[in-house]
């Protein structure tokens, strides 16, 4: 009798505990503000496909979870040996098995899984579909940042090379061609789609789409060495008109700096930075006046003999058109937060507004390894150039003109 009472208590408490843990699990489902990388708040049609599969699968799994856990708890209470049990009296019936039952609990889960499998197969085959107005972006992973290459007019030449923050038009499919220049990385914007590995020597397709304008946080998810943990990126989705404006700005050379300090900074840049970083038109050994080009050189790193293992560093021509830099670790513009982690849905601007956060830029230039662990001795990442404070001032004054 006592066992039966305990069993009922176990049943109730067990169910409650399961429900509470389920609630804890799904509590954050709606919040992209609290959890910028949330996988349970899809913001585009590809992520929707996944989410519409995740919900029923989690529901089925949750049901089985409750049945098994509560079942185990109930049995533990119900069939517990009591202190007054005597050997030989009321011993358990020796059941060796039941073929019907066995076949039943083989077939029933198999059938459930078969049903799920149909939806699963359907979803897998839908993942690569694109609409006719899709645009193409080449995504290149390297230690430890992402590069994006746009061929706007589809003429086979690269028109825009940018880094860290990818800009796409909202409401349109974006066909990504994901590549790597060194080791395996994985491109992941949870709000827009699942992951896709960037494997050297291969090109992998991934389609993303953002229903609304906004900034969507991302993260490299394949272990890629030292700074894998902070290899972050963003996708900025813009209204079609804003996207056109962005393209317009990105394919036009920035204005030449005019004040003394910035010009001196330009000089420092050409001497110190161009052996890895490209600003369209500037090259190592060039002489003033430094003229910008509209189009980037897609093979810049190889051409200047960059010693980096990936032979490539971020193109900084339109640095200030981005909201963040240093692999999405630092904000370029002064804002609410010191760090660049955010997912905001609803609005985004083609040209960032506000005051440049020169402190962040200076912090980075003083010693990049403080911000992001790198191994320049093994040609992985940016070395500390040992710039003087004056040079840093000048460089920053120059960099903020790159818009």
């Amino acid at each position: 009798m006592r066992n039966k009472r305990n069993a009922t208590i176990a049943l109730v408490l067990g169910t409650l505990a399961c429900l509470v843990s389920g609630w804890l699990l799904l509590r954050g489902a709606t919040s992209l503000e609290t959890f910028p990388l949330n996988t349970l708040n899809p913001q585009g049609r590809k992520a929707d496909i996944i989410y519409s599969l995740v919900v029923p699968v989690f529901a089925i799994a949750g049901l089985v979870f409750i049945l098994v856990e509560v079942g185990v708890l109930w049995m533990a209470a119900r069939f517990r040996r009591n202190h007054d049990d005597v050997e030989g009296v009321g011993e358990p019936v020796q059941v060796h098995g039941n073929t019907g039952l066995e076949i039943g609990w083989t077939i029933v889960p198999a059938v459930i899984l078969a049903v799920v499998a149909v939806f699963n197969a359907n979803a897998i085959l839908q993942m690569d579909d694109t609409n006719a107005d899709a645009i193409d972006v080449t995504v290149v992973g390297q230690q430890w940042w992402w590069e994006y290459r746009y061929d706007i007019d589809s003429d086979g030449t690269v028109d825009i090379i940018t880094a860290t923050q990818m800009v796409i038009p909202a409401g349109r499919d974006v066909k990504l061609a994901i590549q790597s220049r060194d080791v395996i990385h994985s491109f992941w914007i949870p709000a827009l789609n699942g992951k896709m590995d960037a494997v050297p020597g291969r090109t992998h397709p991934l389609v993303i789409e953002a229903a609304d304008p906004g900034i969507y946080e991302g993260q490299c998810t394949e272990f890629c060495g030292l700074s894998h943990g902070v290899m972050r990126m963003q996708v900025k989705a813009l209204e079609p008109a804003a996207y056109d404006e962005w393209v317009q700005r990105m394919t036009t050379a920035p204005e030449q700096p005019t004040d003394e300090k910035a010009l001196a900074g330009q000089e420092v840049f050409v001497q110190q930075c161009t052996s890895c970083h490209q600003i369209n038109g500037l090259e190592p050994g060039a002489e003033a006046p430094y003229l910008y080009a509209d189009l980037p050189n897609p093979n810049y790193g190889e051409d200047v003999g960059s010693t980096l293992l990936s032979q490539n560093a971020p193109n900084l021509t339109h640095l200030m058109m981005r909201d963040t830099f240093a692999g999405n670790l630092l904000d370029l513009y002064q804002g609410d937060s010191a760090v660049a982690v955010e997912t905001t849905v609803g609005s985004a601007e083609a040209v960032p507004s506000g005051e440049p956060d020169t402190n962040n830029l200076k912090k980075w230039l003083r010693n990049p390894e403080d911000i992001k662990p790198m191994d320049p001795e093994n040609n992985q990442g940016m070395p500390n150039l040992g710039l003087s404070e004056e040079q840093i001032d000048q460089l920053v004054a120059f960099l903020v003109t790159l818009k």
Binding site: L37, V72, G88, A123, Q143, I184, T221, G225
Partner: protein, 687 residues
């Protein structure tokens, strides 16, 4: 008495006795079977099993320490306790330690100790090879950990994806130790797997057909078969990596045409069966413990065995589900996704059969039983989260996040380790002749369950909220703060529970020393053959070989059932179990050579990594070990290794046999009387 002689590899088992040549002078065999020195030369499967267990528990402390470092680093956002580089080493070494130095050898410990007992054998098929596999593994494991002294541990992840694991991207010796260390340990595992496979095939006691073997024997056997086929695949991969790193080959150098996918496929073709290698023995342990403490037979024995075999087979067809995000194309993803979903079916069958075994039983909540029930409950969670990412599109969101970490810790900790702890409490009296304290055991259990769920439960949330794996830090704004702190507190709770376990071992030993209480052969009223013999297991295992007539033979000698199917005792346990003190059973002699052979391998390993010339002494030692092994008499012809309890050892085997005969008629009961075959004491030839 039954005479057991060890066959040399060159002798026909059914052949007529051969004339033994004189052993070659210096190569006489060690004789001691007790004292600390005997542990280095023993070929006794029980001692080997215990050494596997003790060593892997020590490595468990190492791996656990690494886990605590990980949790401390991630306790708060932006922590700088560990540098990114050190963190990468620590998480890589944590994974490798827990897999290759803890869970796999722990299952080896149980398999070594129990397989011969459960099939009624006196030893494994090749006792010296058994010792070899222990020493090769142990020295390989130590070798692998010495990488900390040579510039840092492996830092490319346990999966060591190329090309990041190559010398260009990961200079330093960590990944060299990874490749060479795992190769050495792989030799040990292969030898062990072949040995135990043959043991189960060939060494079963009369009447012990395959379908009468205990479920643990079955699961451990399937594990060995999986090892036999999975290890060569990782061996190939590790050789390619080693040649790349140490000899400038270009298997994974993309600029020379190498393909990183080759590594991924080879690794996971091994890596997925590896998961079942780690979990199946625990399934076996639970299938032993639950029936004993439910006083009911295992429900659906043929289905338990069949589902184990099914898991073993299907485990080969699902490896690429680790690669859903690797870009292998939708058709491959589809095929592997569907295959993966259906591997849940045989696993589900097991869960339901355990529950059906408990249903209607009379459950005794010993610590062993608690751990087993916890396995059923916790593994279910790991299994279900597994189903959620068998669905490939969902997996592309979940893979490489903390959701996966939660999943495989529920499988490998909530599954494998809880099962292994259950086995420790269950078989401890059989192995050491005294119980582990049950009160402390329950403290251990509850703290471990609470700590375990507090550590890994929140990781489900973290993963779904987007926290990626293998990250040395996170930022305040990412929303990961709360659950990471909870997980860290949980990890320390786990650590306390392990301390309690260790205290329990020491405490129980001290109490036993002060006041020895014989647990008797059958302390739990159990079912399989190992409970018929005294505790701790005598050196010869079975004084007489048991003839098996049905599944759960021992149980059925104790119990029948009435017309309602209820349990009825038909014989007293004391009348069924074997008496201690058998004499004259001839056991395989200890040997130096397994240890000698194994010592050479790590030296060769250092040579490969640092300077090939340094490999020469190692190779010489190994060759000497092989030579000594082959030349060693299969048994020491001077005798002296018979298990003598009552009579003084005799130098003349014939006389010893006669003595044995005489002794038996005096003290052994009729049932135990076994004719000694004097002829058989003649030694097998040099092998």
């Amino acid at each position: 008495m039954t005479i057991v002689h060890q066959r040399s590899p060159l002798e026909l088992p059914s052949g007529e006795p051969l004339t033994p040549p004189k052993p070659l002078g210096v190569f006489s065999r060690p004789k001691a079977t007790s004292g600390w020195k005997s542990w280095f030369t023993t070929v006794d499967h029980k001692k080997i099993g215990i050494m596997y267990g003790v060593a892997s528990m020590l490595f468990f402390l190492v791996g656990g320490f690494e886990a605590l470092l990980i949790r401390l680093q991630l306790a708060v956002p932006g922590n700088d306790l560990l540098s990114a580089d050190l963190y990468n080493q620590v998480f890589t070494m944590h994974g490798l330690t827990m897999i290759f130095l803890v869970v796999m050898p722990l299952q080896s410990a149980f398999a070594n100790y129990l397989l011969p007992l459960q099939i009624g054998a006196r030893d494994v098929a090749f006792p010296r090879m058994n010792a070899l596999s222990l020493w090769v593994w142990l020295l390989g494991a130590i070798f692998f950990n010495t990488s900390w002294l040579f510039g840092g541990g492996a830092n490319g992840g346990w999966f060591a994806y190329a090309p990041n694991s190559g010398v260009a991207f990961t200079p330093g010796h960590g990944m060299d130790f990874y490749a060479v260390g795992l190769l050495i340990m792989g030799i040990g595992s292969t030898v062990s797997a072949i040995n135990l496979t043959v043991t189960v095939f060939n060494m079963r006691t009369p009447g012990m057909s395959m379908m009468r073997m205990p479920v643990f024997t079955w699961m451990a056997f399937i594990t060995q078969v999986l090892l036999v086929f999975a290890l060569p695949v990782i061996t190939v991969a590790l050789f390619l990596l080693m040649f790349d790193r140490l000899f400038d080959a270009s298997f994974f150098d993309v600029s020379k045409g190498g393909d990183p996918f080759l590594w991924e496929h080879l690794f996971w073709i091994f890596g997925h069966p590896e998961v079942y290698i780690m979990i199946l023995p625990s399934f076996g342990i639970v299938s032993e413990v639950i029936p004993v403490f439910s006083r009911k037979p295992i429900f659906g024995y043929p289905f338990m065995v069949g589902s184990g075999i099914a898991i073993g087979f299907m485990g080969w067809g699902v490896w690429a589900h680790h690669m859903f995000a690797s870009g292998m194309g939708p058709i491959s993803v589809l095929a592997f996704s569907l295959a993966t979903m259906f591997i849940a079916v045989p696993t589900g069958v097991k869960i339901l059969n355990w529950m059906a075994t408990m249903y209607g039983g009379r459950l005794r909540f010993t610590t062993a039983m608690l751990f087993s029930i916890a396995l059923v409950a916790m593994f279910t969670i790991g299994g279900l989260s597994g189903v959620t990412h068998a669905v490939a599109p969902a997996d592309t969101q979940q893979t490489d996040t903390y959701y996966i970490i939660a999943h495989f810790h529920y499988v490998l900790f909530g599954g494998a380790l809880l099962g292994l702890f259950s086995g420790m409490y269950f078989w401890y009296p059989k192995m050491f002749g005294h119980f582990l304290n049950e009160r402390l055991g329950k403290w251990h259990f509850w703290l471990m369950i609470i700590g375990f769920n507090a550590t890994f439960g929140p990781m489900h949330m973290l993963g779904l909220q987007g926290m990626m794996r293998r990250t040395y830090t996170y930022t305040d704004g990412q929303g990961f703060n709360v659950w990471n702190l909870v997980a860290t507190i949980g990890a320390f709770t786990l650590a306390v529970s392990i301390l309690i376990f260790m205290y329990n071992v020491a405490h129980s030993y001290r109490k036993h020393k002060a006041n020895p209480v014989d647990p008797g052969p059958d302390p739990w009223d159990a079912r399989s053959l190992e409970w018929m013999i005294p505790s701790p297991t005598p050196e010869y295992n079975f004084a007489e070989l048991v003839v098996v007539e049905e599944f759960d033979e021992f149980w059925h000698r104790k119990y029948g059932h009435d017309e309602e199917g209820r349990l009825v005792r038909i014989a007293k346990t004391e009348d069924v179990v074997q008496k201690p003190g058998a004499t004259g059973i001839h056991l395989p002699s200890p040997s130096y050579w397994p240890l000698v052979l194994a010592v050479g391998l790590p030296l060769v390993g250092y040579g490969l990594i640092f300077n090939l010339w340094w490999a020469v002494p190692g190779a010489l030692i190994t060759i000497m070990g092989i030579f000594g092994w082959v030349m060693e008499p299969a048994d020491d012809p001077d005798g002296g290794h018979e298990h003598h309890e009552d009579e003084s050892p005799s130098d003349d085997p014939e006389a010893a046999a006669e003595l044995t005969d005489g002794a038996e008629s005096g003290e052994a009961s009729d049932e135990e009387t076994v004719a000694a075959d004097a002829e058989q004491t003649e030694e097998a030839p040099v092998g």
